[in-house]
Amino acid sequence: MKEFGYERAADVSGALALLDGDPDARFLGGGTNLVDLMKTGVERPGRLVDVRELPLDRIEATEDGGLRIGATVTNSDLAAHPDVRRSYPALSQAVLAGASGQLRNVATVGGNLLQRTRCGYFADVAAPCNKRVPGSGCPAIEGEHHNHAILGASDHCVATHPSDLGVALTAFGAVVSYETPDGPGRLPFTEFYLPVGDTPHRETALPPGALITGVTLPAAPVAANSRYRKVRERASYAFAIGSVAAALDVRDGVVHEVRLAFGAVASRPWRAHTAEQALTGGPADAGAFAAAADAELAAARPLPHNAYKVTLTRNLVVAVLSELAEEATR
């Protein structure tokens, strides 16, 4: 590991001042991803600004009935919070489906959004990777890509975003708040991650040197009937090969409102707007769920070894929405 400086910030303005726009410095949250990447040389910061003690560790109700989640709230505290479990159960389930108890106790919400892909070529500093070394190439396209993207990828990168939490956040229309030396800003979740294009090394729309301060969930009564389902290659403690966050409000057999997002299929948590539109106002049955999933997945461009994700995601949509429809009529 490269030697680095370490400073601990006590508040947001202090953290921004310590970072001082230095592109060679990083904010350190729980460190569960950053420290790991520093050990392997993927990340080589010259300085760390520790933000774990910033007073951003609260979950509060907003005036409109939503929730404001501070950036340093740990995954464990988020998943265990009564308001989250009651009003956005899929969010709690998504967090609990990720990592292990040890990691969730330390990992922060802000850090979760900025974690890097688990693509094996990205993690291997001896391999080319356009995300790690722009212009060096993407060996995954011709190589090992069974857990890579089927939606929104490009010829430059087919890596997926590994977050479970993010899938639920995008389904519920979360807004990311950040602070910069020039003032605060907000980004809707669907604009937070940049399209891959030919710049896979640019992952978010955050201005340089910005600090994520929190995530706001708008009020969403539909989210009370929500679920997160994750498929992985072992029963627990593994990244998804497919996941779905869904919320459903059915009235008289008709879809009144639906939220749908996919994980492990793209460079970002994938909000399934096309499927949502196809479902809204139509029947809440398995045939309609499958047709809506197909409409969303029509844009899929699978590679030779990950075409199974199209079927997997489609089946997940049908299963999760069918369960939610049954619960809605109970």
Partner: protein, 199 residues
């Protein structure tokens, strides 16, 4: 004027098992390496050193965490408990005793991490935390019973290459039962005391 050279070392005070240790660390030093190499607390094991195996699990402010992904410099000010700090003198912690009584190990290398993790799992469950296998996470559903399935999910961050999982689950079940019994007894004593005061 040349910029001040960046300091790559810091003096830190680590509070481990109730004792304070002040040492100068290279910022690259993980809490795991500081515990083992600097404080001679070798009960905490290094398995993968990548946060994947759980062998280095310790308690940080009463919560389990893997020491390999914590920087020692960032652990200042936190209460660290390692497997060496669980027993009360000669009296083993109930989780340690249960692992012994039920053979919750084979080679023993992952055992300190398993035990530290189990201590926290039992507290997390007692606090009402749901898990990924909890059917209904809504608070109104109440805390899930700590079944074998719940224990397996909650302990999934601790790998055992000997495959001693069957007896590990039994040991956690037994220790959780002892804790629940103790809590009921304490609650009973509290109620009796309350009644006494009222009378």
């Amino acid at each position: 004027m040349a910029p001040t050279p960046l300091s790559t070392h810091s003096a830190v005070t680590l509070n481990v098992n109730g004792e304070k240790h002040t040492l100068t660390v290279d910022h690259r030093t993980t809490l795991l390496d500081a515990l083992r190499e600097r404080l001679d607390l070798t009960g905490t094991k290094k398995g993968c050193d990548q946060g994947q195996c759980g062998a280095c699990t310790v308690l940080l402010d009463d919560r389990r965490a893997v020491a390999c992904l914590q920087l020692a410099v960032a652990a200042e000010g936190r209460e660290i408990v390692t497997v060496e700090g669980l027993a009360e003198g000669e009296q083993l912690h109930p989780v340690q005793q249960a692992f012994l009584d039920l053979d919750g190990y084979q080679c023993g290398y992952c055992t300190p991490g398993q035990i530290c993790s189990a201590v926290a799992v039992i507290e997390e469950h007692a606090a009402g935390w749901p898990s990924a296998v909890t059917d209904d996470v809504r608070p109104e559903a109440g805390p899930p019973p700590l079944t074998a399935e719940e224990i397996r999910e909650r302990m999934s961050g601790n790998l055992c290459r000997c495959g001693a999982y069957v007896s590990i689950v039994q040991a956690v079940e037994r220790a959780a039962g002892i804790r629940a019994q103790a809590a009921r007894t304490a609650e009973g004593a509290q109620t009796a005391k309350g009644r006494g005061a009222a009378a």
